[in-house]
């Protein structure tokens, strides 16, 4: 038995799954108190008399981090320290970032001596005094989190580690993310991903801590995993340090859940939540992964991501009239207090859909002030916003099935341009929880191999075996383990020809018969 929980900005969905059978499901409103929200949702699917059913694992997918970035909400004041001088200074950190995104994290940048050549020589030796002065300056500016990126830190991480140590000593409160732990070769994109990880680090502490507390307090004895954006699982401690890996895990889960529910392997999936709508494209049952640098909030990154576009349209999106605008502001968690339907004073997308009879919740008599004209125009605009994003994901003009999932699917109509059919599968409102529950365990290995002693094939096979071993010991069914990524970094001009090989594998959690 497995439990999948998806904590969205507005709703928390959960599902108890036995094999491929959905045993129980629930949908609750996400509470400000994350721990109680998760506990409520666990209670809803695990009545007290059945507590000892043998739940092997609780998998949580969360859009907390994606929403934090999209709304630029609760992001840490962040600095980027690059160990590079005198190299790599023409393009400073965050050079190609949208201005308002950079401003929202303050985005202080420090270029200091350091970095490695590709062959492991130092570009320059790090200057501890320089780093200390930078740390002092950060402290004065109220920096909460820092990204440290060194040129070729994937070849030799020691400078990043020493810099981290100095920063830690000077300013113990600053949360540190190091680029060699986050991304791959390609300094701008790796640094971008690291800065995103850093600016989420204050949020991740509280969010993951709250999840842990919920599972512990229920005494289930289950392992806790968070879902990653590549469709694999990571444990809670790992997730606290690397929140960036959970970005886009929500859409990944929804899409895999949608494929599971419809049996359709090739389609567009739109997951309409309370704050945002994530749209991706399924190919052979899996989200298409982008083969080019992936943008998060307009920022290029180089770690593996599903090809997903997010728009600020959800059940809680604020609707203004004359002229009609929808979002990006959302009442989010406050939908059942602030929206007109529930006696509040803010007109939301859900109010408009309810006024049109598309959903039956709240007190409709409170919507009498809304004109027919405004209802029609706003619903039309929501369709147009969705059609636009579907169109941007499609790569040819052919119509394609569109699967609408998520709690806010009723916002979007059945008549969508570009769709060959529009499907709303049963249990689609918890597709993301289902996707989390059926998620796979990942395993990675990364090592340096000397090709003087063994062949490349032997090195690859050793790295693959190691990754498989880890995935299996993390709970993967050995028969289902498959390689999803292989990366080789050459380390030349060493006494022997050496390469660094990274292999990533995934496998299913074994079914309990």
């Amino acid at each position: 038995m497995r439990i999948g929980i998806d904590v969205g900005g507005t709703n928390t969905d959960s599902v108890l799954i036995d094999g491929t059978q959905i045993v129980r499901k629930s949908k609750t409103t996400t509470t400000e108190d994350i721990t109680n929200g998760v506990k409520n949702s666990l209670h809803a699917i695990l009545p007290s008399e059945e507590k000892n059913l043998g739940v092997d694992a609780v998998m949580i997918g969360t859009t907390h981090f994606t929403n934090a970035l999209l709304q630029k909400n609760g992001l840490a004041t962040t600095a980027a320290l690059r160990l590079c001088l005198p190299a790599t200074q023409m393009l400073p950190p965050m050079v190609d970032w949208p201005k308002e995104m950079k401003e929202s994290i303050k985005g202080y940048t420090y270029l200091v001596d350091g970095g490695f050549e590709f062959d492991g020589r130092e570009i320059s030796t790090i200057d501890k005094g320089q780093i200390r002065r930078a740390a002092d300056d950060m402290a004065n500016k109220g920096v909460e989190a820092i990204s440290i990126s060194g040129i070729f830190s994937s070849v030799d991480p020691t400078q990043e580690q020493i810099a981290a140590q100095i920063i830690q000593e000077e300013t113990p409160h600053i949360k540190i993310s190091m680029s060699h732990e986050i991304g791959r070769v390609g300094v701008l994109e790796r640094e971008n991903a690291t800065i995103l990880n850093a600016c989420l680090s204050t949020t991740s502490d509280s969010v993951v801590g709250a999840f842990k507390k919920a599972v512990e307090e229920l005494n289930l004895g289950s392992a806790l995993f968070l879902t990653q954006n590549d469709g694999t699982l990571m444990d809670a401690d790992f997730a606290t340090k690397y929140p960036v890996y959970s970005i886009s895990s929500g859409p990944t889960n929804s899409m895999r859940g949608a494929a599971f529910l419809t049996g359709i392997q090739n389609a567009i999936v739109a997951d309409v939540g309370g704050t945002s709508t994530d749209v991706g494209i399924l190919r052979n049952g899996f989200p298409r992964e982008s083969s080019i640098a992936v943008e998060i909030g307009g920022i290029r990154t180089n770690f593996r991501m599903p090809d997903v576009l997010s728009i600020a349209l959800g059940g809680g999106s604020v609707v203004n009239t004359s002229p009609i605008t929808i979002g990006p502001e959302s009442v989010g968690l406050q939908l059942t207090q602030q929206s007109l339907l529930f006696g509040g004073s803010i007109r939301t997308a859900t109010d408009m859909a309810a006024a049109a009879g598309l959903v039956n919740i709240g007190n409709k008599t409170l919507l009498s002030e809304i004109s027919e004209e405004d209802i029609k125009s706003s619903l039309n605009m929501m369709n147009v916003m969705t059609e636009d994003v579907i169109d941007r994901l499609k790569f040819n003009a052919d119509d394609i099935p569109v699967i609408l999932v998520g709690g806010g699917h009723f916002l979007i109509g059945d008549d969508l341009a570009g769709a060959s059919e529009v499907l709303r599968p049963e249990n689609g409102e918890i597709a993301n929880a289902i996707g989390a529950a059926i998620a796979q365990v990942g395993g990675q290995s990364e090592s340096v191999y000397s090709l003087a002693e063994i062949s490349r094939e032997e090195a690859l096979s050793a790295a693959t075996e190691e990754a498989k071993k880890r995935a299996i010991s993390a709970g993967a069914n050995p028969k289902t383990v498959m390689v999803v990524d292989v990366e080789e970094i050459p380390l030349t001009y060493l006494p022997s020809n050496a390469i660094r090989i990274r292999v990533k594998v995934v496998g299913d959690i074994p079914e309990i018969s």
């Binding site: 393009l91 050079v95 050549e117 080019i292 499609k394 790569f395 080789e488 020809n497």
Partner: protein
Amino acid sequence: MWQVTEEDLLSISIGAGILGTGGGGNPYIGMLRARETIRQYGPVTVLSADDLQDTDKIVCVGGIGAPTVGIEKVRGKQSYDALVALENHLNVKATALISNEIGGSNSLEPLIPAAISGLPVVDADGMGRAFPEFQMKTFFVYGVPYAPMAIADEKGNVAIIPKAITSKWVERIARSITIQMGSVACYALAPMTATQVRDTAVKDSLTLSKKLGESVRSANKTKSDPINAMLKVNPGKVLYEGKISGLQRKTTQGFARGEVTVDGSGDFAGTVMTIEFQNENLIARIENEVVCVVPDLISIVDSERGEPITTELLRYGFRITVIGFPSPDLWTTKEGLQVVGPSCFGYEVDYTPLVLT
């Protein structure tokens, strides 16, 4: 004559990636560097080779090194430093700059010293594509001097190669210097005359890369097929479609060498293509039969968006389309093939021109 806009930089970086056949460095980084420099110093004018004056002194500038390194240790204004060092060494002033290769980052390299110095850039280059070695320029095949050369790193080091007995020797010496400089450097070459540019350069190539990039961008906007769109701008042939199933690479003697294996899909299902690269894609085989070979162009693009994928960004699982474009005529002469024919890269096959069907 035209001025390079920021929109043009985006288009050129895509077009130059396609013509770069996997090499020439990351066009995105080249685009950002050009953009940042133009924002700081002002716009750059592009001159047709036909607009050059007899008194013009045209200096070729370029980057040299391994692309895998160039996305990590990003170049700065080294090509400007090399230009100044060359001018000082020869006591002459350049009046225009020209790209050594239209492929990849190098297509935009002259824009950086051009913006800093206020000089125009000529709409032409020395390859019409990208090649891994210095001597592989149409200029030298047809008699343009290859020395002196100034070469600069990011640390402030400059080397001058005043004389060499062949262009291949310039390559050897410059490559050794580059490896010591950390496998990323920039150079400037002895000035060319207007006649030399008109007779030995691949002309209008900056415009071609701009149009190729525009065709891909516009196809993506209108949801039409970007592959067809680029083939309309520059006639070529779809060689293969499939998924990358294997990748082997090593950085040796300053080059990113390797081989990519592709499992066919669609019309190509059930077959395997292998492409060998030495910075650039050089030879493509389907089931061991050569289907395209250097100097014809072998471009790997994302199957859906048509965007070029450089060799350093190739990754297991990518879905790609492989496109062949015929080589510029300057390369398919006997003299040209002696410098960039298959045997120059260690392939014992005869050059058979790509047939467009």
